[in-house]
């Protein structure tokens, strides 16, 4: 389930905030990109991500 704040954090702001943490933030940023790429190319991971989203929405 997504828990939204009352404030729109801003997508670019979240990325800038992560990168502002320095080396550790950059590593996490690329890890996030890696996970996205893996989800996009692997049918199995894509299915499990879709199922997870469905469960969260239920």
């Amino acid at each position: 389930m997504h828990i939204f704040g009352y404030l729109d954090s801003g997508s670019g702001s979240m990325i800038a905030s992560a990168l502002a943490a320095g080396f550790g933030g950059v590593v996490v940023f690329f890890k996030m990109i890696g996970r996205k790429v893996a989800n996009a190319v692997s049918p199995k991971r894509r299915r499990s991500a879709a199922e997870a989203a469905k469960t969260a929405g239920a």
Binding site: G5, M14, A21, G22, G25, M32, K36
Partner: protein
């Protein structure tokens, strides 16, 4: 007693601030009440309350509960702030100290598994020259991913400070027109060429702006994705520590020069100054003051004099550099009941925000019982061309006992102001005319010409 909602407290649906019988209350719905319980179980929160870096807060129970308490799961009562001010009335030093306080409080929260819902400069208020964090409803149990208030912090704290520090542009005039502060893309346009090499600009302005343009996915989704990829409390703390280091290093060259001048030219031995001080002391005898305004306070010497006898003084001046020097000196001397603010009296802070009710106009916020208008009338009359009846009518509308100084046209300062204007432009700017106008609205209790021979002080009570 009817409970009155605070007009600026509507954005967070989990909690709202309201007033009842002069008390400042915060009603918490279920989720905010859970956050409050988590907050009270921490070690940092009582410590921040004890050193007054967070506004005094207590749970209200039993007979003390207000009429609307039934709507909420819990109700808190806050200590009242003597005078509400806004970031566009603060100096560079005040905004920087408020930013550092906000980050310190956030770091303390992050250490114990809590975070904050926002990073807004309006979360800080002042007790004299001491900042205090007032938005207790901002604390929440730590969500995953980066700090949600980062953008707001940049827009309302960091960028205005950078404007002054990197460009020597006073930020007050921008903030009064933009309650949400400066957007990253807007800030980037100010910082062109070599300025992009200044500390913090690449990450907090350039990357921030570019990422905002390129990434269209919702901020919450990105935050969650970053959290899943391993962005936890430690990395958030690293971001916040780096921000604090950057903010702490920012300096205003304009304010530094003002501070140096303040220390070298601030002389208290001038005969007119001594006579003014004696006159004000006489007025203060038998006039206990709860709230005083010093309009055109300059170095704040008379504001301090009033404050010495108790009460709270709001000392305003239009020159932010002078007010910043006053702020520094008040902090150095540990004076806690003089609030220095930047205010152009000819163009004072207006009502702002939703329905023009979120942020109140300066003169609608309180009712002073004493007003000092020293070395002020000639600036309003001769520089801004405000007619004498207008000036006196305005002061009468503000209310309270008035201590006012009239500077005659042959005074060197008045001559200097008149030199820039057409001759004969102010035929009514004379002491006899001033007294006539003053007596239409006030009773003159005492009158004292100063030794210099060109200035006169009046103690006047409103009719």
């Amino acid at each position: 007693m009817i409970d009155l909602p605070e007009s600026a407290s509507f954005r967070d649906p989990d909690a709202s601030v309201f007033y009842a019988d002069g008390r400042v209350l915060r009603g918490l719905h279920a989720r905010a009440a859970d956050d409050w319980r988590a907050l009270t179980a921490t070690k940092f929160f009582p410590a921040l309350l004890a050193d007054r870096r967070v506004v005094g807060t207590e749970v209200v129970t039993g007979d003390a509960l207000p009429a609307s308490a039934g709507e909420f799961e819990a109700v808190l009562e806050h200590e009242r702030i003597p005078f509400i001010s806004y970031p566009y009335e603060w100096t560079f030093g005040m905004l920087r100290d408020a930013a550092l306080l906000h980050l310190d409080v956030l770091l303390a929260a992050l250490d114990e598994g809590m975070s904050m819902k926002d990073g807004y400069s309006f979360n800080v208020q002042w007790r004299g020259a001491n900042p205090t964090f007032i938005d207790v409803g901002s604390f929440e149990r730590m969500p995953t991913g980066p700090w949600i208030g980062y953008r707001q912090f940049c827009q309302t704290f960091l960028y205005p400070l950078m404007l002054d520090s990197y460009l020597r542009v006073p930020f007050q005039r921008y903030l009064v027109g933009h309650l949400d502060g400066l957007e990253p893309a807007e800030m980037l346009r100010f910082l062109s060429g070599r300025r992009r090499l200044r500390k913090g600009v690449f990450t907090h302005v350039y990357l921030h702006s570019v990422a905002g343009r390129r990434v269209t996915k919702g901020g919450e989704q990105i935050k969650e994705d970053l959290g899943k990829a391993g962005f936890g409390a430690e990395l958030t703390k690293t971001t916040v520590r780096k921000l604090a280091k950057l903010v702490g290093r920012l300096r205003s060259k304009r304010s530094e020069s003002g501070w140096n001048n303040y220390r070298t030219t601030c002389s208290y031995s001038d005969a007119d100054r001594d006579a003014k001080a004696t006159f004000i002391r006489q007025v203060l005898v038998g006039h206990p003051t709860t709230l005083a305004y010093d309009l055109g306070a300059n170095d704040g010497i008379y504001a301090r004099m009033v404050a010495e006898r108790g009460g709270y003084v709001v000392a305003v001046d239009s020159d932010d550099v002078t007010v910043d020097a006053m702020y520094r000196s008040l902090r150095e001397d540990g004076i806690t009941n003089v609030l220095p603010l930047v205010l152009n009296l000819v163009d004072p802070s207006p009502a702002r925000g939703w329905r023009n009710a979120e942020r109140r106009a300066f003169f609608d916020r309180a009712q002073p019982d004493l007003v000092l208008a020293l070395a002020l009338v000639h600036h309003l009359a001769l520089t801004a061309n405000v007619p004498l009846p207008e000036i006196i009518g305005w002061l009468h509308d503000i209310g309270g006992t008035l201590v006012i100084e009239f500077v005659e046209p042959h005074d060197p300062m008045a001559k200097q102001l008149l030199a820039n204007k057409r001759e004969g432009l102010f035929p009514h700017y004379r002491i006899d005319e001033f007294e006539k106008v003053l007596e239409q609205r006030y009773t003159i209790v005492a009158r004292s010409p100063l030794p210099g021979g060109s200035r006169t002080l009046y103690h006047a009570e409103p009719r």
